[in-house]
């Protein structure tokens, strides 16, 4: 009986991997993680990482751009197979989908404002809808102002609609650096989430194991740290 079960499982496992193309969804609006370059193609840390993971796991991959709001429903309904979109591993999400171990270390989120004297506990704070940052602001007592895209959250601070924005430090750092002092980090950093991992359907264990092994091999030979250093240069390079 046990032998039969194991064989059946092996059959299912190879069945899942035998699909010729693994479709990977990303948002394409979250530099340096994922964004559209000038030619309109997807680029960024996660695109390079995903391609390398697919090469190591021997998979043929294809990228799909999908709206953040519908990115999980479309995964579980089978429109694509993996989410690699700067998605933090959280308990709420883990109940619906599965994650690989993180390929990006647990990060701190940071507040960015147009002036140093904003009140982060009672002011208006912008965050992207359905993110760990939005959940944090909702709990903190500040007024949450949600936007569909990360870009809009920063724009809300620039035009005074929000007092500050809460987002991943690594997303905000290049924006603050390029703002000529118009924007600045304020307040304490907030550690949120358990790192960023690739999201998969809970039933897709074979693909999860293949990608997890590929992530581990990139951690072991140092190529993941090299990729992080390339895309997140600066004072604080995220490292494993």
């Amino acid at each position: 009986m046990r032998l039969w079960l194991t064989t059946a499982f092996a059959l299912v496992a190879t069945g899942a991997l035998a699909q010729d193309v693994v479709r990977i969804a990303t948002e394409g609006a979250y530099p340096p993680f994922n964004f559209l370059d000038d030619s309109g193609k997807l680029a960024g840390f996660e695109i390079e990482l995903g391609n390398e993971l697919c090469a190591r796991a021997g998979l043929t991959c294809e990228w799909v751009q999908n709206d953040w709001d519908s990115i999980i429903p479309n995964l579980v309904s089978g429109n694509y197979d993996v989410i690699i979109a700067g998605m933090s591993i959280t308990e709420e999400r883990d109940e619906v989908i599965d994650f690989t171990p993180p390929y990006f270390p647990p990060t701190e989120s940071a507040y960015v404002a147009a002036s140093a004297d904003v009140d982060l506990t009672s002011g208006v704070i912008a965050a992207q809808t359905a993110t760990i940052q939005a959940a944090h602001v909702a709990e903190s007592g500040a007024t949450l102002l949600e936007f569909a895209t990360p870009e809009e959250t920063v724009a809300a601070v620039r035009n005074g609609e929000a007092d500050a924005v809460l987002a991943d430090y690594d997303f905000l750092a290049p924006i603050v650096a390029a703002s000529n002092g118009e924007l600045m980090f304020v307040g304490e950093r907030v550690p949120l989430g358990n790192g960023v991992g690739a999201g998969l359907r809970e039933s897709d264990t074979a693909l999860r194991d293949a990608l997890s092994a590929a992530i581990q091999s990139m951690k072991d030979d140092g190529s993941l740290n090299a990729l992080l250093a390339k895309w997140f240069p600066g004072e604080e390079i995220p490292q494993f």
């Binding site: 069945g15 000038d38 030619s39 309109g40 709001d69 089978g78 724009a155 650096a177 809970e202």
Partner: protein, 295 residues
Amino acid sequence: MCDDPATLNDLLWFACYLTTGKHLAFYISFGTVLLLLAVTAPAALGLGFVGAVAARSRILPLSWLGRGYIAIVRGVPDIAFFMFFVIALDQGLEYLRHHILCPDWDQPVRQGNDFLVCPAAKLPLSTAPQWLHEVYGFVLAVVTFAIVFGAFAANVLFGAMQAVPRAQIETAEAYGMTPRQAFRRILVPQMWVYALPGLSNLWMVLIKATPLLFLLGVRDIVYWARELGGSKTPQFTAYPHGDWRMWYFLFLLVFYLGLTRLSETVLNRLMDRLTHGQAMAGGEAQRRTAAAGAA
């Protein structure tokens, strides 16, 4: 020339900037939107006509079906419809294919949150090229738009059919026409004039509803305007700029206003033509003007 935009003067910089691959995709998306409108409007009108006829039917179950369709779809918010109905439609199709193509499959289709059909039942197949996936998304969008706007159109047409004076139908019957003939020759030609104001409203709303497309993975003009107009930091582009969304949306405003203006002109002409010879105030006014001109 465009290899190092930072060294260019303003005019050349903009020439390069406005012809990046991203901008070309933006220009092409105008075609996508116009195509969507061109396909969806007749489809919604057809569905609306069927819905209105069904709702007026003397066969009770058919009438319930028509009325139910109108009431339910009109009551559900568009965004909910676009997020959930589309996924349900997609899953329904895949479920059917799954039963036809993979009768030997022994795994459950629903596993927790996951919806798993055999690879051969996927729509489109996961091996299909990306453009096919995009075409499929576009078709789903057309179907969804047609169903949503069809319900509103059905309500408009239902009202328009009721508005045709009863005397017209009675006269048709007195001439010995069957109900079917009276419907085709008298009711339908006369109802359009009552339906047109409501239908033109729907058309205007449809023109502006295309941003819902991105929920289905189809990138429309509003998506591109937001993406291109958002501020760009120098690390990630050769053309860094601040928040230019205002200019892009201004451009969209001009486009939409132009489209609205064009629609109005066409609809006004259509109204003129439909009013001609009608037994109502508009038709009577036309007749009098013509008579005064002749005298």
